[in-house]
Amino acid sequence: MAIDNLMVVAFGGPTKECCGKHAECPGQAFCFVNGIFGDNPARRARVDEVVEHYKFFGGFSRFNEITEAQANAIRAELKKRGHDLKLTVGYDHWMPWIADQVAKVDGEFLVMVMTPHQSAVSWDAYLRRVTEGLEKLDESSRPKWAGVVEPFWNKPGFIEALADRVREAAKAINADLTNSSTGLVLSAHAIPMSLVKTSKYVEQIKETAELVAAKVGAANLMVAYQSAPSDSKIEWTTPYLERAIEELKDGGARKIVAAPIGFLCDNVEVLYDLGVEGKNKADDLDLPFAAAEAVNTHPAFIKQLADNVEAKLNELTTR
C-alpha cells in the first residue's frame, strides 16, 4: 500500500467555533484554557489569568489558521515534487481534535508533529492522540500508521527561517546583532524540570539557539523560557524571559531583540508573553525592544518540512 496521507498534529488554539461542552458558552478562550487544565477548580485563578491574555487579542488565537496554512503550503510543495498526499490536520486542545481526525484518514499515513523541540507533553502527547483515534476504530476501518516525520530543531531550513525573522526584528529597531550592545533573547516555552530529566528538550533548544545566533552573527545571546504557570512553585526551565532581559541589560546590552524559537506560529503566548510582557519589561528598563515574528509560513521553513516528509517517504518506500 502506498503512503497517501499526511496527518499534521499540533497543540491548537481557540477559534470562533463553539466546542459545545457548556450549555451556556463561557467564551472559546475560557473553554480552551480550562480544557488544558482539565476543568480542575483548583486552577481557576490561573485559567482566568491566561484567558485575559486571549481577550487582549479579541478572545481567539490564529494558531489553527496558521498551522493549516503551513500544512497546505507543505502539501503544495510536496505536490510540486510529485507526492500528492491527502492532508489532515488535528489538534490536542481544540477542534478538530486529533483523535477525531484520524477517522477521516483513508489508507496509509505519515504523521508530522508540529513542535520544534521534543518532550513528552508535546511530541509524545500528540502522538498519543493519534493512537487514541486509531483505537476508537474497528480494525477493518483503521488506517495504517506508516511512521512519524523526523523532528527539525537543527535543520538548515528551520534555522534559516528563524535567522530571517531575527534579522527583520533587529532592523525594526536598528540593532546591530554583531555588537554586544544588542542582546538577543531566543525563547521557548518553559517546562517543569521533571520533564527535562527524561528528554532532550533543553539540549535541542540550546542547539537551535546556537545555530541561529551563529547564522546572524549574534554577539550577545541568551536562551530564555516563557509562559510558565504563575501558580506553580516547583522548578521550571530558567531563566525566565523577564530575568534574561534584566541580565542582558546588566551585562551591557542597550537594545533587545527577542525571537520565539520554541514556537512555530504567532499564537497568543508569542504575541502576549513575548510581545507584550517582554516589551513591558524592556520598557521598564528603558531598552528599545523588538519581538520577531514566529516562523509561520516562511518559505525556508516550509521547504524544510517538505524535505523531512519526503525523506521519510523515501525511507519507508525503500524498506
Binding site: 480544557g35 486552577r43 493512537t131 532532550k200 512553585k233
Partner: protein
Amino acid sequence: MTLTIEQEKEARQFLSDLRKEIKNHAGVGHSILGRMKTDPRSRFDFMVLAGQHFPLVGNFTRYMELLLLNAPDSEAKCWLAKVLVDEYGERSEGEDHAEHYKKFMHAAGHKPGEEDIIPLHPEVVHFIREHYRIATEEPFLVGLGALGPGHEWSIPAMFELAVAGLRKAGFAEKEIEYWTMHLEQDQDHGAWLEEALVKYCIIERNRELIRRGALLSLDARERFWWGVTDKIASESTKKHLPPGTSATHTEGQLTLRELRQRWHVEARLVE
C-alpha cells in the same frame, strides 16, 4: 490543655486558610487529574499510572511509622496510630492498602509481581525520598504537615477526579475500591487531623512548620504528577511506534526492587 476562645479561633482560621491553600495548589490541580475527568483515558494509561503510583502507596505506612516515633505526645501518637490502623487494613477487610492497590494494578493490566520491576520516573523516586527525609530529618510538625494536611486534605480532591476518570475508562467498582475507599477514609482522617492540629496551631512558629511541611509534600506531589504525565504520554508512543520515536528515555530509571536494594531506612539511636 485548655485553649482560650481567641486561641482556638486563631488556630481554626489558620487551618481553614491552609485547607484553601492546599485545595488550590498546583499539585492538587494538576492538569492530568482534571483531564482524567474531562478526557477519558484508556485502561493502558491507568496501567502506566498504577505502575508509578504503587511505590507511593507502598511507602506511606513507613513514613507514618517513622513520624510516630518522633511524636511529642499521646494525642499526636493517637492520630497517627488511627490512620496507621486504617493503612494496615482495619477498615478494608484486613488487607493493607498496598494489597488493595495491587488488585487495582492487576485490573489495569499488570501481571502479579510486575509492580517491583517497572522503571520509575525520577519524580516518583524524588517523592518517596523527600517524604522519608521529611519524616526523619525535619521537625515533627513539618512531618505532620506533610503527612497530615499535605496528604489527607489533598487526596480526596485528587482522587475524586481520578475516580471519575477510572469509571469513564470502564473500571468496575470492585476494581477501584482502593480509590473509592480513600474518598471516605481520608475525609475521616482529615477531620480527626484537624482536631489534633488545633492545639499546635496556637503558636505562630508551629503554624509555619505545619504549613511548610504541607507545601513541601504538595510540591513533591506536583512533580510526581508531571512524572506520571511524562510516562503516560511516552509509554503510549513506546508501545505503538518503533524504538526511537518517543521524545523520552528511561536511562538510569530505577525499579522498586532496585530501590529496596539500595535504600535502608532505619530508626536508630544517635548520641
